[in-house]
Amino acid sequence: MTLLDAARGPVLQLALAIFAFGVAWRLSSLLLLPFARDKSLPRTGAPPAAFAALREILRRSWPQKSFGRASLFMTVNSYVFHLGLALIVFAFAPHILFIKSLFGVSWGNLPNNVIYAVAVVTVASLAAALIRRISNPVQRIISTFDDYVAWFVTLLPVLTGLAAASHLIARYETLLAIHILSVALFLAWLPFGKLMHAFLVFVTRGMTGAYLSRRGAQL
């Protein structure tokens, strides 16, 4: 069995199984927890929980004036690499075919060269995010091992994908195999670290918004 056969076959299947197990476990263990009824009286004028949740989701998706320019870079850069990743994953023809092979659904794709350009920008943006994390004292102190692993396993598929597309360094089938292996690593790690925010980001933001708003916190 060649490296590519192993990557396309058993390794990918194992990674998908780990991913499915992990995501199902994390979501069910959270959502099935007892929902503690808030017995406190809501502050006068507090909006309904759903509204407060939605407001918080939107508010945190925008740079805060109170943080000045400090948060502007982070917000813009985060948008750049998140949108970049989304385009790479959902608008590149081979990736759409991969998704179609799993779920049977497909949609239109962008030209490959556009995706290559997006990937280069995404790599640059991810590099900027790391530099910022290391150079900013506060961010450096609050960063954990998981933050760096999350960054690494996200960057790796983009880099290896670019290498495969441009036939750089090694033969295409080797590069493609390495790319698939890096995707497998990403999938297997996602549920167990901070990358799980892909599923939980709006849940946690909404919950925080509803909870604090009921207590009258000025968000």
Binding site: M1, T2, L4, D5, R8, G9, P10, L12, Q13, L16, A17, I18, F19, A20, F21, G22, V23, A24, W25, R26, L27, S28, S29, L30, L32, L33, P34, A93, P94, H95, L97, F98, K100, S101, L102, N109, L110, P111, N112, N113, V114, I115, H167, Y172, E173, L176
Partner: protein
């Protein structure tokens, strides 16, 4: 032609001029991307060479490789190949049969010891002591082992001989193996393809005859001159691939307009061969030009790569059951941990669990 006669003299006797030999040599030199001076050196060497003794063994095969070579478009090419070599043994092509045929093989081996080439098409079955394919009462393995013992080199023609091919496909009922699994201590050149390009065969034999050495080989022992680039690298549909324009079915507008066949399972990106440049039937066409994706027939294990019509980007397995079971397992573990937490809360609350 006697084996003492030089090729140049023999070709002249058959009405093939020196000019034709030069043309042929420069054609092969160009195919093999040899330096310009090599073509005349090749012609000189070929003219002076004696015919190369070749013993051709056919094992578990479909005769497609021989068909490919003997029915190659150009009669000149075919004639030249057979003028270059003294085909001392070939089941399909030799006139004699039975004991006389075997005697011819043994005689060629004796007379040209250390100098003859062994060409093999077909894989070698090892299952049940090799009983699945025997010739003249001996197994393919026995015949191969005894024939290669004093050979100069072995050329595995076709994917069955080179990598096991169709007989080797899962579940490989005959225990088929490629020639290289049996032949050790001799150079083995693989000219893979199902069937292989006749030019690759002719070019390789001519190269050995002209320069007295093996051509440069890749990691799978294939001549780099013919297997150096992927089909995708040389495919005329490549611009459509880059622009993201793919045929979605074999009769949609994309297919009619010659768009890329990647979505229809083309294996061109991971297949190394010269089909896209040399083409077939005298440069008329090749599978992709005829509207069908590349099957990857010159690569090891091409029958077991998840399906000819499955895009390269899709995995080879069907993860549905495994992934579904994993998800159910995850929900079960999650539910159990949530239940434990509820119980702990309950206990902390001082109430007895019911």
């Amino acid at each position: 032609m006697s084996d003492r006669e030089t090729l140049g003299a023999a070709l002249a006797r058959c009405g093939i001029s020196r000019r034709a030999l030069l043309k042929y040599s420069s054609y092969l030199a160009t195919l093999m991307a040899l330096p310009p001076a090599a073509s005349s050196a090749m012609a000189e060497a070929l003219a002076k060479a004696r015919r190369q003794s070749v013993i051709w063994l056919s094992f578990q095969e479909c005769t497609g490789c021989t068909e490919s070579l003997t029915r190659s478009f150009s009669p000149t090419l075919e004639d030249l190949i057979f003028n270059l070599i003294s085909l001392d043994y070939h089941h399909t092509l030799m006139a004699v049969s039975g004991a006389a045929a075997e005697a011819a093989r043994l005689e060629a081996m004796k007379e040209n010891a250390g100098k003859y080439l062994v060409v093999v098409d077909g894989s070698v079955p090892l299952g049940d002591d090799g009983a699945y394919s025997t010739i003249a009462g001996i197994t393919n393995r026995q015949m191969l082992t005894e024939t290669v013992e004093h050979a100069l080199a072995v050329i595995s023609v076709g994917t069955c001989a080179a990598f096991g091919g169709l007989p080797h496909a899962d579940p490989n009922p005959t225990g088929a193996v490629p020639v290289s699994a049996i032949v050790t201590g001799k150079p083995v050149i693989n000219i893979s393809g199902c069937p292989p390009l006749p030019e690759a065969m002719a070019g390789t034999v001519s190269y050995i005859l002209s320069f007295g050495k093996l051509p440069e080989l890749d990691h799978l022992h294939r001549p780099k001159a013919f297997f150096g680039d992927s089909i995708h690298d040389r495919c005329y549909r490549r611009p459509f691939y880059e622009r993201g324009m793919f045929a979605k079915s074999f009769d949609d507008d994309g297919a009619r307009n010659g768009w890329c066949l990647y979505e229809l399972g083309c294996k061109g990106p991971v297949t190394y061969n010269s089909c896209a440049t040399l083409k077939w039937n005298g440069g008329t066409s090749f599978p992709i030009q005829s509207g069908h994706g590349c099957l990857g027939c010159s690569e090891p294990g091409f029958w077991d790569k998840g399906g000819f019509y499955r895009p390269l980007a899709a995995g080879t397995g069907s993860p549905g059951v495994a992934v579904g079971a994993a998800a159910i397992g995850g929900v079960a573990v999650g539910a159990a941990s949530a239940a434990l937490h509820r119980r702990r809360l309950h206990d902390q609350g001082g109430e007895k669990p019911k």
